[in-house]
Symmetry: C2
């Protein structure tokens, strides 16, 4: 003991570290802590999506007030505009967007497959046209890492081959194997770049096929990533199928590493998937729905444009303690929405993000109390979302 | 003295009171304080415009942080949507929009003349079609007061006949006389309604004609309004004409009542018109220009979309201490504007409003020091805006 120097703060946090603090006795739910160069994140955690280096309509100050701990930003969008090199010149994403807490970036793959046109996919990578101006670009495992290194995110994701649903076993196997090869090339490029404060997560693929998911997980674990994502879900498959895939993948993932379920989901999904052992989530649902006037409440959602709210003095949710519910009536929020006011997006986003973050706080509290099964049962009883 | 009961807070502030605190020795600039039911306003003051019961893109909290003291809201817009009766049922504008400080409402006349179609103007009032859905409505002096009573603003404005520029002496006289008759009817309706915490300002009209402006002022003063606006300016006339009209009207207005110049203007206009004795201003310029990416700086304006700002790490204005200039680069603000992000409007509005409010703070400081002529000279030397 005496001979071992205590780690300095800098050494301690320069690479990501996950502390598994507690495990719920009746479910697979886990409580933990993710240490990053930009601070500590309590898990399970929900990451709001800041697509173009901004969580739409929110200032960083508002996100801090909401107690947002970590954001996700989209490499595809930032690569096209303003460009990762511009962001790098301006000090990286944190400085660029005035956000001093952790950031996770995706690889850009998912948006290339879902937004761009002319996707020419080979083992080398993906050639695609920008959805903005039709300009042609090439994304490889190596360039995906370079882009994210330029952005300077705390957690980077490997480039994976994003399969449409449904897909045959043959297609899924081919796609999974390509994703494994890409993950290996991402890892090699990442190790060569030695981005001091950054880390790279692997992504388990394999569609809905148990054997492929198992093989994908095992191959990735062989590469020793500090965290593992489950990808290729929430792409149109039925909910029970999604839950089943997670349930079957989870035992193959190392307990001491964080698990991140990409692009999921509804508030009920968060509870269900935490029960299956997931630690990290991201989803555009709270922010996108907010801008469309779809507001979450503990009794289900409300659609704020409806005429019945014209004179309604009640808050969105009387049991909610967010700044919007403490200040504004449904009537005012309806007025702002109908009048197409920017403040409509701002206030609706504040409320929906609070709802998601509050759901995560409840999740963490029930895990800490070793009573997560009760929250799960309550969620299933109430239904909705 | 001993026999006089001191006024209670409620009595003290139930009606508007203007304190003239100081007069600049070399110009007509005045420093004062406006006491309203919703608090005290330091004058000269700039009122941001909250057209549809929201200053576009701003939360009330952000306006408080900016030290906004009083807002202007537009009766025409709120009459059409959500309706003044809805606002009244929900407790009035302050409660509706979550703003606890003073509000001034215009009469709706200006928007009827500028936004709506089918304007059938008679001595009775104005028949017009909504710019939203073409529905037909009638605005009279009496209904203008009733609408504003429903909205519950601290300061209401009389309905006036809004003349286009240019207009002949004959047209201007006819219009001014109609405005005087309407002001009288507004006053009668206002006195009958007895809105405890509200007050009604008169509006001097008469176009660019000195004799008509003088007659208008004298007639209104005969009705004993607690404040007087100068209307019908900033409608296309040359700047020197506008300044001349103000210079000629001002001596006819009672010193102990606040003077409000409607719809003006640029930062330089604020300084010039304070020098002519104006106490209150409103204008959409800082907020509208913000959304169009036109940002004010002490060295003139910048247009944030320009390519030269793509990699510019500097703030909008290095000498500005607003939250935006302390946090964000021009490069980031350009990115948000180009990407059509909501946060672009939010941050640009924060900066431009800060610029206007800071201009007013400097104006008040120079008045207090009895050195306002120096600020006026500096403003003319720097030019711009």
């Amino acid at each position: 003991m005496g001979a071992t120097q205590p780690a300095t703060w800098f050494e301690r946090f320069e690479k990501l570290k996950f502390e598994l603090l507690t495990k719920d006795p009746k479910t697979r739910a886990r409580g933990g802590r993710l240490h990053t160069a930009h601070g500590i994140v309590e898990t399970p955690v929900f990451m709001p999506v800041g697509t173009q280096a901004t969580v739409k309509s929110m200032t960083p100050g508002q996100l801090r007030d909401l107690q947002v701990e970590i954001l996700l930003c989209n490499s595809y969008h930032l690569f096209l505009r303003p460009g990762h090199e511009t962001v790098a010149r301006l000090g990286g994403l944190n400085q660029f967007m005035g956000w001093d807490r952790p950031i996770l970036t995706d690889s850009g793959g998912f948006q290339v497959f879902s937004l761009s046109s002319l996707r020419d996919i080979s083992d080398d990578g993906v050639r695609f046209r920008s959805h903005l101006d039709g300009s042609e670009h090439f994304l490889s495992p190596e360039s995906a890492v370079e882009i994210q290194a330029g952005l300077g995110s705390d957690i980077m994701m490997v480039l994976d081959d994003c399969l449409a649903y449904p897909a045959s076993h043959f297609e899924s196997e081919k796609s999974m194997k390509r994703s494994i090869a890409w993950a290996s090339r991402c890892k090699a490029r990442f190790d060569a770049l030695v981005a001091a404060h950054q880390d790279l997560f692997g992504i388990v693929q394999g569609g809905i096929y148990q054997d492929l998911r198992k093989e994908s997980a095992e191959q990735l674990i062989g590469m020793n990533f500090p965290g593992y994502a489950i990808g290729g879900l929430a792409v149109g498959e039925p909910k029970p199928v999604m839950y089943e895939v997670i349930e079957q993948v989870e035992p193959h993932l190392p307990e001491e590493r964080p698990r991140y379920l990409m692009g999921v989901g509804t508030p009920a999904d968060l509870v269900e998937c935490v029960a299956l052992g997931v630690d990290m989530f991201d989803c555009v649902m709270p922010t996108r729905h907010a801008r469309n006037g779809w507001l979450f409440t503990k009794q289900g959602h409300i659609v704020i444009r409806h005429a019945k709210y014209k004179d309604d003095p009640a808050p969105i949710d009387a049991s909610c303690n967010c700044s919007v519910c403490r200040t504004y009536s449904r009537a005012y929020l309806r007025h702002l929405f109908i009048a197409n006011e920017i403040l409509s997006s701002v206030l609706n986003t504040l409320h929906n993000l609070h709802f998601y973050l509050d759901t995560m706080r409840r999740i963490r509290q029930f895990i800490e109390l070793h009573r997560f099964d009760e929250l799960l049962a309550e969620t299933r009883r109430v239904g909705g979302h």
